[in-house]
C-alpha cells in the first residue's frame, strides 16, 4: 500500500495504462510539458513521448473528434477536458458521434475513448470551473459514465476505463484531487471492483445515503456525525452513474427503508431524480419515507463567495436525514 493523493493515483493509473497498452494515448490541453493544470498527467509526456501524450490545440470538439478518428484506427485515446464547463464545445462530438457510432455501425465499430472531466465546485473558482454536468451524459445512451470518489478507486477505475471497449465519461472530483488515501499500486486489476459496480462505503441500518465524486467524503463524514444522533447511515459510493448498479441500491433501500441521494449537480432532472424514480418503482413497499435529494439549487453555478450556500454539505445532509424521519 502506498499513500497517494487522488491526483497522483490517477497519474499512476494512467502511467500503468500507457505501459500496459501501446495503443493508449493521452490528449488534451496542457497535458504534456505542464502535466495538466491539476498535474494529473505530470511527467507522462517525458516518459512516453509527444506521440503518446499529445498537447492539442485549444479546441474541445477537436479533441474528441480526433480521438474518435484515432479510435477508429485502433488507438485508445484518453482525453482530458480541462474543466467541466469546457466540455460543451465537445458536447456535439460526444453525444452525436462518440455515443452513437457503434449503434450506427450495427456493432462493427468500437470506440474505446475515455473523456476525463474534473468536475464540481468548492475551489473558489470563476464561472465555468465548478460545474457538475454528469446527468447530461448519463441521459445519453451509448456512454458509460463513472465518477471516482477517492484515490484508491481513481487508480483502478481509470485503468478499467481505458480497458473498456465503450466510450467512458470519467468524472474526477477536483476539490478532492489533493485528498490522500492508501492505494494498492501493486495489486493489479483482478481484485478490483468492476467499474460499473457501486461500493458500500459505510454499512448502516437506518438510512441509505447514495453519493459519488466529491460528495463521497462529505457523506462519510455525515455518517460519523449522525452516529451522535443515534442514526446509522449506510453510505454507498455509486461510482457508476450509467449504468446504475441498481442491485446494490435496491438491496440497501429494502433494508433501511429510507434513502437520500446527494450530489453537487442541480437536483432538477439529475441523477438523484432518476434514482428516486427507480427506487419508487422497485422498492415501493419497503419505503418508510419518500426518497430525498440533496443537491444544488436550480440556478446556474453562483459566484464562488456563494458556493458554500449552494453546495450540499454535512449539515444539509444531516438535515435531510432528520426530514426523512419526519414522515
Amino acid at each position: 500500500m502506498t499513500t497517494l493523493t487522488l491526483s497522483r493515483a490517477l497519474n499512476e493509473g494512467l502511467r500503468k495504462a500507457l505501459e500496459d497498452n501501446p495503443k493508449a494515448l493521452i490528449m488534451g490541453e496542457d497535458v504534456g510539458k505542464l502535466g495538466g493544470v491539476f498535474r494529473v498527467t505530470d511527467g507522462l509526456q517525458k516518459d512516453f513521448g509527444e506521440a503518446r501524450v499529445i498537447d492539442t490545440p485549444l479546441a474541445e470538439s477537436g479533441i474528441i473528434g480526433t480521438a474518435i478518428g484515432l479510435a477508429l484506427r485502433g488507438y485508445r485515446p484518453i482525453c482530458e477536458i480541462q474543466f467541466d464547463g469546457f466540455v460543451f464545445p465537445a458536447f456535439d462530438q460526444i453525444v452525436s458521434q462518440l455515443a452513437k457510432m457503434r449503434y450506427r455501425s450495427l456493432g462493427s465499430v468500437r470506440l474505446p475513448v475515455v473523456v476525463r472531466i474534473p468536475f464540481g465546485g468548492g475551489i473558489g473558482a470563476v464561472e465555468h470551473h465548478s460545474e457538475s454536468p454528469e446527468s447530461l451524459f448519463a441521459h445519453t445512451p451509448g456512454l458509460r459514465v463513472v465518477a471516482c470518489g477517492d484515490a484508491a478507486d481513481a487508480y483502478t477505475m481509470i485503468q478499467q476505463a481505458v480497458r473498456s471497449d465503450d466510450p467512458v465519461i470519467f468524472f474526477e472530483p477536483k476539490r478532492r484531487y489533493w485528498d490522500k488515501a492508501e492505494v494498492d499500486v501493486d495489486g493489479g486489476l483482478a481484485a478490483a471492483l468492476p467499474m460499473d459496480q457501486s461500493r458500500v462505503l459505510v454499512p448502516g441500518t437506518d438510512v441509505t445515503v447514495l453519493c459519488y465524486g466529491p460528495m463521497v467524503r462529505t457523506c462519510a463524514e455525515a455518517a460519523v456525525a449522525a452516529q451522535d444522533d443515534g442514526r446509522s447511515l449506510e453510505v454507498i459510493d455509486l461510482r457508476s452513474l450509467a449504468p446504475l448498479d441498481t442491485a446494490t441500491i435496491f438491496a440497501s433501500v429494502r433494508k433501511t427503508g429510507r434513502c437520500i441521494v446527494v450530489h453537487e449537480a442541480v437536483v432538477t432532472g439529475g441523477i438523484g431524480a432518476e434514482i428516486a424514480a427507480q427506487i419508487t418503482q422497485e422498492c415501493f413497499y419497503s419505503l418508510e419515507s419518500p426518497v430525498l435529494r440533496v443537491g444544488a439549487y436550480t440556478t446556474p453555478y453562483p459566484p464562488s463567495r456563494l458556493e458554500e450556500h449552494y453546495l450540499p454539505d454535512l449539515d444539509r445532509i444531516l438535515d435531510a436525514v432528520d426530514r426523512t424521519f419526519g414522515y
Binding site: 473528434g65 478518428g69 484515432l70 488507438y75 456535439d92 450506427r104 468500437r110
Partner: protein, 392 residues
C-alpha cells in the same frame, strides 16, 4: 478554350453580380485562380502543367461507366422516394465527376470519410448501394463495417467527420504508415460545412500535425437554400493557405481533373507532405434532398447554364471525338446501368423492416442490466398481442 477562360466559365451564370468587389465574391475567379481543368465542358482534352494525366481508353471508359451507373442509382433512389419506398434521398445529381474522379484516385488502403451524399464515392469503394438505401429507407443508420471497404459510415451532422478523418490520419502517422508506400485519408464535405467550427478545427489539427489527410470540398454552390455568399467572402480553396497548407480549385464536373488533382494530393499526403484542400467547383443540379424545393430560392437559368457543363456528357463527347469508344460501348453501359437500377429497385422493394427487438442491439459492447430489462419488458409487451384480434 484556354484554361483561364475555362476558369471564368465555371462561374455560375444567372447569379446576380455581387455588389462588393470581385475579389470578395467567392464565386468569382478574379484574383486568381486557375480552375484546374483537363476536359472542357465541350469534351475537349486540355493539358495542365501541374497535372499531367496519362489515361488509357479502358480507364476512361471505366470512369464513364461509373459516372453513368451512379447517376442511375441516384435516379432510381429519387423515384423510390417519390413512391414512398425511401423516407428521403440526398441526390448527387451533377456531382458525379467530383465523386467518381476523387473516389477512383484512392488506393484500397486509403480511408474515406463521407457526408451523406457520397453515393458515387461509395460506389467506387465497392459498397453495395443497398446499404445506402437501407439508411434512407430507415432500416438502419448505415450499418456497414467501415473497415470492409475503407469507407466510413455516412455522417449526417455537417462537418463532424472532418475531425474523425484527421484523427484517423494522426493514427496513420503513429503507425508509421507515412512514406513511400504510405496511407492517406480523404474526407468529403460541402461548401456549407466550411462554416462549421469542426471543419476549421480539423484544418488546424491536420496542419499543426502535418497529417496525411485530403480535405475534399464539393462546392455545389448551395447549402440547402443558402448560396455560397452566405458562407464565405473568399474562394473556399483560399482558406487553406491561412491554415498553412495548399488549397486548389478544380473543375468539379471534370472527372479527369478531379482524378488527377486528388491523386496528386493523396500521394503528397501519403509521402508525408501533409494536408491539401481541394475545392471541387460543381453544382447541385437537383434539390438538397427529396424534401427540398429549389424553385423557392434559385433561378432556373442557373441550372440551365450548369446543364451545359454536365459531367457525363463531356466524357462521352471526348470518347466519341477521340474515337476511343464505339457507339456500342455507350449502349452497353446504358444496359448495365439499367440492370443496376433494376436490381436496386427490386432489392429495395424486398427489403424487410428490421426486427423490433433489434433496436436494443449494439448500444454498448456489453448490454447493461437495465437495457436487458427494457428489452425483456418490450418483448413481453409485444408477446401480449400475440393471438389477439385487433379491433378496427
Amino acid at each position: 478554350m484556354t484554361v483561364k477562360d475555362a476558369g471564368r466559365a465555371a462561374r455560375p451564370a444567372g447569379r446576380a453580380p455581387a455588389k462588393r468587389s470581385p475579389a470578395g465574391d467567392p464565386g468569382q475567379q478574379a484574383d486568381s485562380p486557375e480552375l484546374i481543368q483537363l476536359l472542357t465542358p465541350e469534351g475537349e482534352r486540355v493539358e495542365h502543367p501541374d497535372y499531367p494525366l496519362e489515361i488509357s481508353a479502358e480507364e476512361l471508359k471505366s470512369l464513364y461507366r461509373d459516372l453513368v451507373i451512379v447517376r442511375r442509382i441516384d435516379f432510381e433512389a429519387i423515384a423510390l422516394q417519390r413512391q414512398g419506398e425511401l423516407g428521403i434521398w440526398a441526390s448527387l445529381l451533377g456531382q458525379e465527376a467530383a465523386q467518381v474522379g476523387s473516389g477512383r484516385a484512392l488506393t484500397p488502403r486509403d480511408m474515406a470519410f463521407p457526408t451523406y451524399r457520397e453515393h458515387g464515392v461509395a460506389w467506387c469503394r465497392g459498397l453495395d448501394p443497398m446499404k445506402l438505401l437501407e439508411l434512407f429507407r430507415g432500416v438502419s443508420h448505415g450499418g456497414w463495417d467501415p473497415t470492409e471497404h475503407n469507407f466510413h459510415l455516412y455522417t449526417i451532422v455537417i462537418g463532424s467527420q472532418t475531425l474523425h478523418a484527421t484523427g484517423y490520419a494522426m493514427g496513420i502517422q503513429r503507425d508509421g504508415a507515412v512514406g513511400e508506400d504510405g496511407e492517406a485519408v480523404i474526407v468529403y464535405f460541402g461548401d456549407g460545412a466550411t462554416s462549421q467550427g469542426d471543419v476549421n478545427e480539423a484544418f488546424i489539427w491536420a496542419s499543426v500535425n502535418n497529417s496525411p489527410v485530403v480535405f475534399f470540398c464539393q462546392n455545389n454552390q448551395w447549402a440547402i437554400s443558402e448560396p455560397l455568399e452566405r458562407q464565405s467572402r473568399v474562394p473556399l480553396y483560399q482558406r487553406a493557405h491561412g491554415f498553412g497548407f495548399p488549397g486548389v480549385r478544380v473543375d468539379g464536373n471534370d472527372v479527369l481533373a478531379c482524378l488527377a488533382v486528388t491523386r496528386k494530393a493523396m500521394q503528397a499526403a501519403r509521402e508525408g507532405q501533409g494536408p491539401t484542400m481541394i475545392e471541387a467547383f460543381t453544382y447541385r443540379m437537383g434539390a438538397h434532398t427529396t424534401t427540398d424545393d429549389p424553385t423557392r430560392y434559385r433561378l432556373s437559368a442557373e441550372l440551365e447554364a450548369w446543364k451545359l457543363k454536365d459531367p457525363i456528357e463531356r466524357v462521352k463527347q471526348y470518347l466519341i471525338r477521340s474515337q476511343q469508344a464505339e457507339m456500342s460501348f455507350f449502349d452497353e453501359v446504358e444496359a448495365e446501368a439499367t440492370r443496376v437500377g433494376a436490381r436496386v429497385r427490386a432489392a429495395c422493394l424486398e427489403m424487410p423492416d428490421p426486427e423490433p427487438l433489434s433496436m436494443f442491439d449494439d448500444v454498448l459492447t456489453e448490454e447493461t442490466r437495465q437495457l436487458a430489462a427494457e428489452r425483456a419488458g418490450f418483448a413481453a409487451y409485444l408477446d401480449s398481442f400475440v393471438g389477439e384480434e385487433v379491433a378496427r
